[in-house]
């Protein structure tokens, strides 16, 4: 269990330093493996030593994550990881806190904590493994499952419209929102590193393949032959171009709807294409992007929004410092006495 304590300070961290001694128990071929590998890289790149990190999770295949890293960790209960993480972060602002969750864990039973984590902006990183299915309980629909999906719990097809995790995160006020794909390992690694460096709640949705219960759900976005046509890689300050040869782009129509245009056709130039601004004050366009969905639109991946706002715990620490400055450090005897006392001799 215990890792050795050698040269903890100021050393360089390698991904292997974040590997735990536990056997990884995911199904062979599961997309979770790629995420684990890239997460270790991102932690190493961000340079936080394992003993100063805690991974928190709920229940689900994805929520087994903490066992597979050498950091501190809590494998919690279903849906509650953000709440556990928030308590930990408030109590210990010095600890780096990451959350691993699934589409069911994070957005079905855990929806309320997701919502308030997004809004509060404590400095926790939330990585949502979206496989559009309940893996651990063997294949029921999740809130991100497509309408019409046939599963054990919906043998005649689901009648529920799916939620868009990125839209929900933006809707709840998240300061950092991104999306990436398990098989696109380079992009995945970069996005996780960006999340690691963000101060405040960072939300990352990862399209993850569950090869047992929902194989190929994101083929359009992960398959090398298809992905350039069906994903739009967001880059700060860059026009929103996509396609194999980056000839297609997103333009706004007169009544402010996104449309796909092709450079060079009908006089369209790159100047017509919307430029991505993850720092925009009003996240309206980021939201618009989050609503674009396959097959009608390419699905954006990358950072939708990244703005710096004071974190929950930093504001709290400031408040405490201010109260202390005003009232002193707190004298217990004085506190117990209160204001009105009398003496009995």
């Amino acid at each position: 269990m215990a890792t050795t304590v050698e040269n903890m300070a100021a050393r360089e961290w390698k991904p292997a330093d974040y590997a735990s001694d536990q056997d990884v128990r995911w199904c062979p071929g599961c997309g979770d493996y790629a995420i684990l590998a890239q997460a270790k890289k991102a932690l190493a790149a961000a340079g936080v030593e394992p003993d100063r990190i805690t991974w928190v999770s709920g229940i689900g295949c994805s929520s087994r994550f903490p066992y597979y890293v050498s950091t501190y960790g809590i494998h919690g209960i279903h849906g509650r990881a953000p709440a556990i993480a928030t308590g930990l972060k408030i109590a210990r602002p010095d600890i780096t806190v990451w959350v691993a969750t699934g589409d069911g864990d994070g957005l079905s039973i855990g929806g309320n904590h997701f919502m308030h984590a997004m809004r509060r902006n404590a400095d926790i990183k939330i990585v949502l493994f979206n496989n559009r299915i309940y893996g651990l309980t063997k294949g029921q629909i999740s809130p991100t499952s497509e309408k019409g999906k046939r599963t054990v719990s919906t043998p005649y097809g689901s009648v529920e419209p799916p939620i868009h995790p990125v839209s929900a995160a933006l809707g709840c006020g998240a300061t950092f929102v991104a999306r990436t794909v398990d098989m696109n390992v380079k992009h995945l690694g970069e996005v996780l590193e960006r999340a690691a460096r963000h101060k405040g709640t960072a939300f990352v949705e990862i399209y993850q393949n569950c090869n047992i219960f929902n194989d190929g759900a994101f083929k359009y976005a992960s398959d090398k032959a298809e992905r350039d046509e069906h994903t739009l890689v967001l880059e700060q300050g860059k026009p929103m171009l996509f396609g194999v040869d980056k000839k297609k782009g997103i333009r706004m129509t007169a009544n402010m709807q996104p449309e796909i245009v092709t450079l060079g056709e009908n006089g369209v130039t790159v100047a017509d294409v919307v430029v991505h601004d993850e720092r925009a004050d009003n996240p309206g366009i980021a939201f618009m992007l989050s609503q674009m969905a396959y097959p009608d639109f390419p699905e954006p991946i990358g950072v939708f929004r990244a703005v710096e706002l004071p974190t929950y715990e930093s504001l709290l620490e400031e408040q405490i410092a201010a109260v202390r400055a005003k009232k002193g450090p707190g004298d217990l005897a004085q506190l117990l006495r209160g204001n009105d006392t009398w003496e009995v001799a």
Partner: protein
């Protein structure tokens, strides 16, 4: 304020129970609370019972909008807010209607006659004006046009009528302060403190109204005499009055401070527990962090996170919120992290009677989880006792690495009593040792008390992962081995059962064997104790055991129970402790259950004792 020497005869009485009643907008809570403060500073023993509706400010004059505050103050030791009232102050007909039944015959009845207008009488369901139809003849009735007199008193400030009328409760307070010879300075100072700076005109208006009431009593022909309740002969020490929720908050702060640890309190507001959150959030300079969570589940989970992080972690709620925390309490049991979970019980089931008191969450605390899921449970017995109960809860939690449920109730939480302030140095030390040595650390390697080590993030070399799946003994790794599961379930059970080693033996008040043992727990202490004392004075062979430790029970409890012919368990529920005692000790405990949103009266418990003894003599 120059208080004239008494010009009317002063009669000394031992104990007075008085209740202030009016509309929820009439400020009865503040009136009662301030009267309590001055009585406390006057050196009486006392106990209070605030009672307010679930509506914030129901339409004026309605029966369901009535708010009340009762205080019992005395020159001798008392433990309850009083069964019957010696005095009732009613600000309107609805308030009179609802409360009159509790006033003793010949009791003092002070009413604001200005409020007895036809519309209010109708709302209260009075066909005739009771002030005029002679129906109140068995009381000493004083009808005083308080609204008019208050307006006159503050006239020079040229307030709006509405604002002027708001001061009439202070007129009433002044009057009653005279009547019972209370010190006036605390109240006058309090006006200054509260409004002196922010709204001096309001301070002035209240002062004028208060004085007008006081002088009215002194001057008016109406009152023939003044009453005096001498100082109580309390144990020597420095005292203050304290409400239970306040004491709970202070107990937690003290525990954390004595251990040199930060305190984390995660909570979702719920009556009657919210005041603990309010109180704690005022003390940020004490290394106290409060977190208003999105719901009770999040509050509980945040406490788990904070405990893992090394804080003294706590959460507080009431019945329905407790239900929501259940699953996460199970996680805390598996993680074996120390924390305190306060349940300020209220009337149930479901939303029930949310502003009223009850003791019906005991079985939930002891047995209400899925799986074999043992949790320590302790209960406070009086408002001031909430302090030590909270303190002890943390002592146990940290010593045994376990969640501890602390049960209080609405009566304790809102009620106030004098509290002999402890010396900080006299508080038992709380020692916390976090694991630090990578060479010996194992997450579930237990000490002699079966407690596992508490290793916190940031400690070099101790990184470890824990969770809600069954864990392997010693290493804490996920483990599905059948025998290991049995072992771990038994270890967790034995650990909690083993807390008994740290508990004092159960004591009784009265003979240590005999005809009847009355067993109570929690907030009924005062009423039961007083009733048993009364029975003892009448020569009945009865003793009283009040339980503080509900899981585990003190080690001598079984023997003790078997030392009496009969056992009576009065509870504000339909027999929950009774069930647990029967199950544990196979004793034929009889219940006396009251479930009316109200504390026991002494008379009720006394009658139950008499009945039980009479039956056993048949």
């Amino acid at each position: 304020m120059a208080v004239a020497q008494p010009t009317k005869p002063v009669e000394t009485v031992e104990t007075v129970a008085i209740r202030f009643v009016g509309d929820s907008g009439d400020g009865m809570q503040i009136t009662g609370s301030q009267f309590t403060t001055s009585s406390a500073l006057g050196g009486n023993d006392l106990a209070t019972l605030p009672d307010f509706p679930a509506e914030i400010r129901a339409p004026a004059g309605t029966l369901y909008g009535v708010s009340g505050f009762q205080i019992n103050f005395s020159s001798t030791d008392i433990y309850t807010p009083g069964d019957t009232l010696q005095a009732l102050v009613a600000m309107n007909p609805a308030a009179l209607k609802i409360n009159l039944g509790d006033l003793e015959t010949g009791g003092i009845l002070i009413v604001n006659s200005d409020a007895f207008v036809p519309s209010n009488l109708k709302l209260a369901g009075y066909a005739e004006n009771p002030l005029e139809d002679g129906s109140l003849h068995q009381y000493r009735l004083f009808t005083i046009p308080m609204t008019t007199l208050t307006r006159e008193a503050v006239a020079k400030l040229e307030l709006k009528t509405k604002d002027a009328d708001r001061c009439k409760n202070m007129f009433a307070l002044g009057l009653v302060s005279w009547l019972y010879d209370r010190p006036v300075e605390p109240t006058l100072e309090w006006f200054q403190e509260k409004w002196g700076k922010t709204d001096p005109k309001v301070a002035e208006a209240n002062t004028l109204a208060f004085k007008a009431g006081y002088f009215f009593g002194e001057t008016a022909e109406a009152f023939p005499a003044q009453y005096r309740v001498e100082k109580a002969k309390l144990a020597p020490g420095v005292y203050r009055k304290v409400r239970g929720n306040e004491a709970t908050a202070l107990g937690m702060i003290a525990a954390a401070a004595r251990a040199g640890k930060p305190l984390f309190y995660g909570s979702y507001p719920i009556t009657p527990a919210s005041d603990i959150l309010h109180e704690l959030s005022r003390h940020k300079n004490f290394d106290v962090k409060t977190f208003q969570a999105e719901d009770e589940i999040a509050a509980m989970c945040a406490a788990i996170g904070a405990a893992y992080g090394g804080a003294f972690a706590a959460t507080g709620t009431s019945g329905p919120g407790m239900a929501l925390k259940t699953e996460a309490i199970g996680l805390a049991v598996m993680l074996e992290l120390p924390m305190v979970i306060v349940n300020v019980q209220r009337g149930g089931p479901s939303t029930g009677l949310p502003t009223k008191t009850e003791q019906a969450d005991l079985l939930q605390a002891v047995w209400g989880r899925n799986g074999e899921c043992p949790v320590a449970v302790i209960a406070a017995q009086s408002p001031p006792d909430c302090f030590m109960a909270a303190y002890e809860a943390f002592q146990i939690a940290v010593k045994y690495m376990t969640p501890v449920i602390l049960l209080t109730d609405g009566y304790l939480g809102n009620g106030a009593e004098p509290w002999r302030i402890p010396n900080v140095e006299d508080l038992p030390p709380i020692e916390v040792r976090h694991a630090t040595d990578p060479a010996t650390f194992q997450p579930y390697l237990r000490d002699e008390k079966l407690a596992r080590p508490w290793a916190i993030p940031g400690t070099p070399g101790l990184a470890h992962r824990i969770g809600g799946l069954e864990k392997k003994d010693v290493t804490g790794e996920v483990c599905y081995d059948p025998a290991n599961h049995q072992l771990m379930c038994e270890l967790r059970a034995r650990k909690v059962a083993g807390i008994v080693e740290s508990l004092p033996e159960q004591t009784v008040m009265g003979p240590d064997s005999g005809e009847l043992l009355v067993v109570s727990w929690g907030g009924t202490y005062g009423a039961v104790r007083t009733a048993v004392e009364r029975a003892q004075r009448r020569g009945l062979s009865v003793a009283h055991a009040h339980l503080r430790y509900l899981n585990p029970f003190p080690r001598n409890l079984g023997t003790l129970l078997r030392s009496y012919k009969k056992i009576l368990v009065p509870e504000l529920n339909l027999g929950q402790l009774k069930m647990v005692l029967r199950a544990h000790y196979l004793v034929d405990a009889h219940g006396y259950g009251k479930i009316q949103g109200r504390p026991f009266t002494v008379a009720e418990v006394f009658a139950a004792i008499e009945k039980m003894i009479a039956e056993s003599r048949l």
